[in-house]
């Protein structure tokens, strides 16, 4: 007779796994990746691949030789970090820089805390912000989208729409003249503008986000709170002074708001556990983003906003517990 197995209940388990979640997120990023490859060409593809490979390699090496444990790169989390890291940099970034970014992302932001699930900050964003501070020039010279080019070495660089508006307003130009220099909103939403590899196409990102919602990988709370609060805050400012503050729709379709709200802020490890916590987290991200965009030194604030809110997550987890059954809230 063969041996019986014994364990505590339950004896059935969902089909879902960490690997499937990571795979789902990567699949949902495919439309955004295709749009970027279309606009930024071969260099974007190479940069993305290098980023993914370096992240996986760094994680493998650290697990194998530093932590001396069984490498778990097959769970796909390192690949996902690599993909998101590449999505957060301009397509003409020197290759070695993205490798540095990968080392910081995985080595410092993830593995030094103990690996998957233990990092307080979003690894890809830590890598991005590290690069932004270390290589400010390369990280802010955005190639102009040129449709299926094989090289970007001679490509013209220009500012992102947000950068253009922010700089222009500082120089005293009027909103109207600035808007005339930009493509129309439909082009912007499709991704025909300067910017990081993955952030340009709001439409493709939204598509991926809907896929994740459908697959129940993420819940609606963080993206809706994030985008909603950003739109409302930006809208109020726009109503107060339309000449100085651009309209909320522009904020939505340019810069990293979509990418941040759907992919970076919803990172399970660094977002709150309870529904209330998620909503507050999202609102915090949205408000800080717009604050930085409108009043900060940087034209873009999504990364900083999310990282700041990441730091608050343990407090949110402590302060906002789920509503318990049979306990009346006072």
């Amino acid at each position: 007779m063969s041996m019986l197995t014994i364990s505590g209940s339950p004896h059935v388990h969902t089909d879902d796994s960490v690997q499937k979640i990571m795979r789902g997120v990567i699949i949902s990023l495919i439309p955004a990746a295709l749009v970027s490859f279309y606009f930024f060409g071969l260099p974007a593809i190479i940069l993305t691949l290098v980023s993914i490979l370096s992240c996986v390699a760094v994680e493998y090496l650290i697990q194998r030789f530093v932590m001396k444990e069984k490498p778990s790169v097959t769970d796909g989390s390192a690949a996902l970090t690599g993909l998101l890291l590449a999505f957060n940099v301009p397509a003409n970034l020197p290759i070695w820089m993205i490798v540095v970014g990968a080392i910081v992302s995985i080595g410092i932001a993830k593995m030094s805390f103990g690996g998957l699930g233990k990092n307080p900050f979003n690894p890809a964003l830590v890598g991005r912000v590290f690069m932004l501070i270390s290589f400010p020039v390369q990280m802010t010279s955005w190639p102009k989208p040129t449709e299926l080019s094989m090289t970007l070495s001679d490509a013209v660089t220009g500012p992102t729409p947000l950068g253009l508006v922010s700089e222009g307003l500082k120089k005293g130009e009027t909103m109207q003249t600035l808007m005339n220099q930009l493509p129309d909103y439909i082009n912007l939403a499709m991704g025909n503008m300067g910017g990081s590899i993955g952030e340009v196409s709001a439409v493709a990102l939204l598509l991926g986000g809907l896929f994740m919602l459908y697959k129940k990988i993420i819940t609606w709370h963080i993206p809706v709170a994030f985008i909603g609060s950003a739109l409302i805050f930006a809208g109020i400012m726009h109503l107060v002074n339309p000449d100085h503050y651009i309209d909320p729709l522009f904020h939505l379709i340019t810069g990293g708001l979509m990418l941040g709200a759907l992919y970076m802020a919803t990172d399970m490890v660094t977002s709150p556990m309870s529904v209330t916590g998620m909503l507050i987290f999202g609102v915090g991200c949205g408000v800080i983003t717009i604050l930085i965009r409108l009043f900060g030194a940087y034209p873009e604030g999504v990364s900083f906003a999310i990282l700041i809110m990441n730091a608050v997550v343990p407090l949110l987890n402590k302060a906002f517990k789920p509503g318990r059954f049979g306990v009346v809230k006072k």
């Binding site: 041996m3 019986l4 197995t5 014994i6 364990s7 505590g8």
Partner: protein
């Protein structure tokens, strides 16, 4: 000289002085007056916060011993007699002699002697699996082998042997008793280390009838009572189908070891006798 440097220096110095003054007054205000001997005693203690003394940490023990003013019932197991002598000197007391002890694992079943009958697939925790079922070998008292004792030990003095699946206590053991508390089966006991680390004990805690325990494990104590009869010092008692050797009465004559039909009585660190060679080889705890 540029005046700005002077300003900077004055500003820095002013800041420093202000901070120092504030700190001084704050320190004065919140000063806690404490017996200086507590610090002195705490310095001698092992600092491992193992809890073997019965207090939460070394500091708590130091506070308690100073407040109590006597050494009765106060012992630092990891420090041993040496540390207690120093503590006694600080307090101006006479050190009390206490026999050094060591943790002893009283189960020799494991994978080899108590073959696996079911396969446990739950959380790797003895407490959790003990609540669920009798154990992979079927013995309701036997070691479960998930290492709750190992997790509890703060001295790295116990580990699970992979081939036998049983815990092994090393010489580093300071008898703090953390593993004794952690074991849900009460298998581990603190016993006298004995002269030259020689000790004899019954390596089984099974209270079931002989036939049942023997069925589950070939090295179980079957409660036959042979050892009780042969012991010249009345050190062995039999209760609930299990023999127990009182380490205060045992004179290490080794007669019971040879008498035990299942080899459940273990002797440690004795010079190898032809007959006992097998037994010592099997047990290295």
């Amino acid at each position: 000289m540029d005046l700005i440097i002077v300003y900077a220096m004055v500003a820095m110095a002013g800041l420093g002085i202000t901070a120092a003054v504030v700190l001084y007054f704050v320190a004065q205000k919140f000063k806690v007056i404490e017996d200086p001997r507590i610090d002195q005693v705490a310095e001698f203690l092992a600092g491992a916060n193992c809890g073997g003394c019965g207090y939460a940490g070394c500091r708590n023990f130091a506070e308690a011993v100073v407040q109590k003013g006597s050494l009765e019932g106060m012992n630092c197991p990891p420090g041993g007699a040496e540390v207690m002598a120093k503590v006694a000197a600080v307090l101006g007391l006479e050190a009390q002699a206490s026999d050094p002890q060591i943790a002893v694992v009283r189960c020799n079943g494991g994978k080899a002697h108590s073959p696996q009958k079911v396969n446990y697939d739950g959380a790797q925790s003895c407490a959790s699996s003990a609540a669920l079922f009798a154990g992979e070998g079927g013995c309701k008292n036997g070691c479960l082998g998930h290492g709750d004792c190992v997790t509890a030990c703060s001295f790295d003095a116990i580990h699970i042997d992979e081939t036998t699946g049983l815990p092994v206590v090393h010489d580093e053991c300071v008898a703090c008793g953390a593993c004794v508390k952690a074991c849900p089966r009460n298998i581990i006991e603190l016993r006298k280390r004995g002269p030259k680390d020689r000790r004899i004990f019954v390596s089984c805690v099974n209270t079931e009838k002989g036939a049942i325990s023997k069925k589950n494990c070939e090295v179980a104590c079957i409660g036959c009572g042979k050892c009780v009869k042969i012991c010249p010092f009345e050190a062995i008692t039999l209760q609930n189908n299990i023999a127990y050797i009182d380490d205060a009465k045992c004179r290490l004559c080794r007669k019971c070891v040879a008498e035990c039909p299942t080899g459940a009585i273990h002797e440690l660190n004795f010079p190898v006798k032809a007959k006992a060679a097998e037994a010592t080889e099997a047990v290295e705890n």
